[in-house]
Symmetry: C3
Subunit: 383 residues, 3 copies
């Protein structure tokens, strides 16, 4: 009940990345994408869950606001019977406690207009920012950092046009992040529709160089903090497999297009694959913590467009080609991998019992960097 999210027995055995193991509900005081901007329309509040917290979003005169979806009084969700009697407030259906969307301040109680509680309390109101057609929420209590520090390099570039989609996946967010950043898992995609469809070169795996050559941490000053996987530079791609000396068990795909030169992962949990899935596009994808066993898989593709015609063409290609072939056709393999990995880590003992190998060095670095540079651990106290 009052226990933390991870048992002390596990934590005392973890080496090197205790905060990461503790962050079962994600890192606090970071920006997370929640949905597309188009999903939040004027005066139509929607309820969501993020980092284990029920939240409520609304657009008022064009600006999006986000508050905790739980009345201070008796803990019920406003969204169970949504009542907005004035433009700037939401009223709890149970006893009429009324809060402002912008500040979260308790401004009136309809069932007792003279209550001393009025004006004394606030529900949490979380900063919201729209960028690239996406709603970002700052799940934190501090003054929010600039959004640039929580998205991959280049994502916010002015001429980069972003389109995206999102869905719920039934695994912890870290299982998603490590699945994405994991160079070795390319193996599961070897028969993907994308490989033939876009004629890309896709090896079965990578024989990495030695130690630290394979990754590089980048600690953000004005930009984001993350880890670059340098497998592409410092490893030999594996295009043929043998088992116990029996050769040519299977082969990777020697396509004409070289993609995915650089893969990197950034706090609070967003991957950048460049170029991907084509030679002039970049994939940015978030693994947004929802509950201990769920994350939002928020996939976006970006492309530099210089004219409106280019932008239009890119939008059509995104929806008609890249969603079915890449974001679904290719990445659906990853969903299955996350679901299958989840049980091993669900009671946190996977962090102790796993046996990693060379291509996982960049994942270990990611755990270390995330442990050291996150801005807080989401805990039960925040729920």
């Amino acid at each position: 009940m009052m226990n933390d999210l991870v048992s002390p027995e596990v934590l005392e055995q973890v080496k090197g990345w205790v905060p990461y193991v503790e962050a079962k509900l994600g890192f606090r005081n970071h920006w997370y994408p929640l949905c597309l901007a188009s999903e939040i329309v004027e005066q139509k509040p929607i309820a969501r869950k993020l980092l284990g917290e029920n939240i409520l979003l609304n657009r008022i005169d064009g600006t999006v606001f986000c508050i905790k979806d739980r009345c201070l009084h008796r803990g019920v969700r406003f969204s169970a019977d949504l009542q907005c009697h004035t433009k700037n407030t939401v009223t709890c259906w149970y006893h009429g406690w009324t809060y402002r969307w912008d500040t979260g301040k308790l401004v009136d109680i309809l069932t007792n207009p003279q209550s001393v509680q009025i004006g004394r309390h606030n529900i949490r109101a979380y900063p919201v920012q729209e960028a690239k057609g996406i709603i970002f929420v700052y799940m934190g209590d501090r003054e929010p950092t600039p959004l640039e520090q929580d998205v991959p390099p280049g994502f916010l570039d002015e001429d980069r046009v972003i389109f995206g989609k999102h869905r719920m996946v039934n695994s912890n967010w870290r299982i998603g992040a490590e699945n994405g950043f994991d160079g070795g898992h390319v193996y599961i995609h070897r028969n993907s529709v994308l490989v033939e469809g876009n004629d890309i070169a896709l090896p079965l795996g990578f024989a990495p160089g030695k130690g630290k050559e394979n990754f590089r941490a980048e600690i953000g000053d004005e930009g984001p903090t993350g880890v670059w996987d340098l497998l592409g530079e410092h490893s030999v791609p594996v295009f043929a497999a043998s088992i116990e000396g029996e050769e040519d068990i299977m082969r990777g795909h020697m396509g004409s297009k070289r993609v995915a030169h650089t893969i990197s992962i950034w706090l609070p949990g967003v991957l950048r694959v460049d170029p991907w899935p084509d030679t002039n596009t970049t994939q940015y994808e978030w693994y947004v913590p929802v509950s201990e066993t769920e994350h939002i898989y928020f996939q976006t593709l970006g492309k530099v467009c210089e004219t409106e015609a280019e932008t239009k063409e890119w939008e059509v290609a995104f929806h008609e080609k890249w969603v079915p072939m890449a974001l679904e056709g290719f990445n659906n393999d990853d969903l299955k991998a996350r679901l299958e990995t989840q049980p091993f880590y669900e009671d946190d003992r996977g962090w102790l019992n796993e046996i990693l190998y060379e291509p996982d060095r960049c994942i270990i670095e990611w755990r270390r960097v995330a442990s050291k540079h996150n801005r807080g651990i989401q805990s039960r106290e925040h729920l």
Copy 2:
């Protein structure tokens, strides 16, 4: 497993009403209504759960008996395959252990008639009393108190004719009790079919007077123990709401009938609303603990009837008018409120995190009175 029902971390932070928080499965050594008398017919045992215990009721020569529905030997429920080979006994289907309905004594073991265990053990047999057409069970180990001490004042008056109904609700019993006794929640009923249908005056809420004026504890000597809510006397009913200065957001209903002058709650968890739902009737309703997350909502209405014709008329009105309009039409709003409140209190942290306001003072008094004057806490050891 052997833990108590509430974590020690929560209990040490609770101020003023620890026993109430502990009483997740209710208070022991009290009378509870279980069902209508007509539901228990001669020699047709029925199985129920109360305060977390599986129990079995039977009517023998007109008298109702109640025993624990679990064999002492291997813990199986008699009701899984009910065997009553003689009028006064029930025999366990597994090994033939046979108990008397009246005392619970183990009187024979069919598979080993010479066993030393025979005559040595008793299953719990709980006292039963029929009153006002309702079966009351005394869930306790002591000599039972008079029923009068566990029902609201007036309920047993000779000329008061009671009719009732009951159903299961998926919340803890205390959520039910506090929802019922809560003066401020009148707000959720403002559009109820009863308001127009019976033309009652129903405000949006109450601006209470100061402190102790608003409630009065009554510690029973020969009668019951409970708390009177004096909001009706010492508060100003709120009939119009404003938000941030914007007036007339909504209005209460200025009906012609004044009802609900006095509201009171009594151990072990029964509300009295008088008069209600009409000017000459009284509602008595119990929130009977079943499991940690379930209670029986046992609603009754009483009316003084002096002739048989009056009684007949009242019976028809109860079923045809007041059940659909009040016990369902009006009180179904409360069911939703209980379901929505349950998650906040389910891990017991709601008791720490709630923020109460003036109309809740009588609820706080109820928690204190219940903590001090209950006759025992139901615990795992009783299950």
Copy 3:
């Protein structure tokens, strides 16, 4: 999470058979029957769970192998997408880690053929033995004991022909074992189709002799370890029941065939009833731990056959007569008893709260013998 399977509070109150109470997932380092030999066909791996562990079986050139169904790397089940690229190996679908079926050795990693991990690690490979048409798996880490030490006396006799069937039952394995070995539970079978159908003598129960006469432990040196129930010799069968002096409440069946002279139970949890269900057949049945709340009920019947014609006849009788009349008709009563007993023991408090009687003395001896002579307790660390 890292807790053991049983709470320390319970264990410190248990007297005399703590290891038995701890063995919620069974005893380690014993042989268990898993399925019929015919169910495992050449190069068609099947996934099962035993003692809480996911395992994978395969037949290669006629020999059956068993490995843990979980990759060392990221803990996923091979069986989620089975890949056997060479005859002697299984390859994990996620990163191509490849293991030998016979030793469990990690022999190759397709995504990084130079990994230092290759050759360094083994998944658990469990010894398998086929006997009497049944696949036995040795769930242990030590050098396996001879199979004879884990099956009832006579089971492996050369001229004894065994047929069997198995199914999953939703109770802990110990509930199954005690239900089978329990002399008093004959009561539930009194109206079984087998009683009339095979005209057997079946009392309602047994009035046992004194103390130690009723059972005899046998601690195996070369053979198995178990307990003989001597109720048949030292007790008076009960053929008529009375309740509170009212006689002839019911009667047992005085059939012409005397069966079940000797009943015995053996580590790691297998019952022998002889003769049963006919005067020249023996029933051997296992309660194989699967999870905390599931066991495989593995029923077999054996008969000495001297010619091939006899064997054929026995096979037909097994399937056409004894499965419907005995293994299902009679023993299905037991399934119900196990399901009903499970909740009482599920949180382990049943071991403290049960009240046993004289016919249970042999069960107590079984608990003691099993506690003292088992070869290990399956724990979370093995999962």
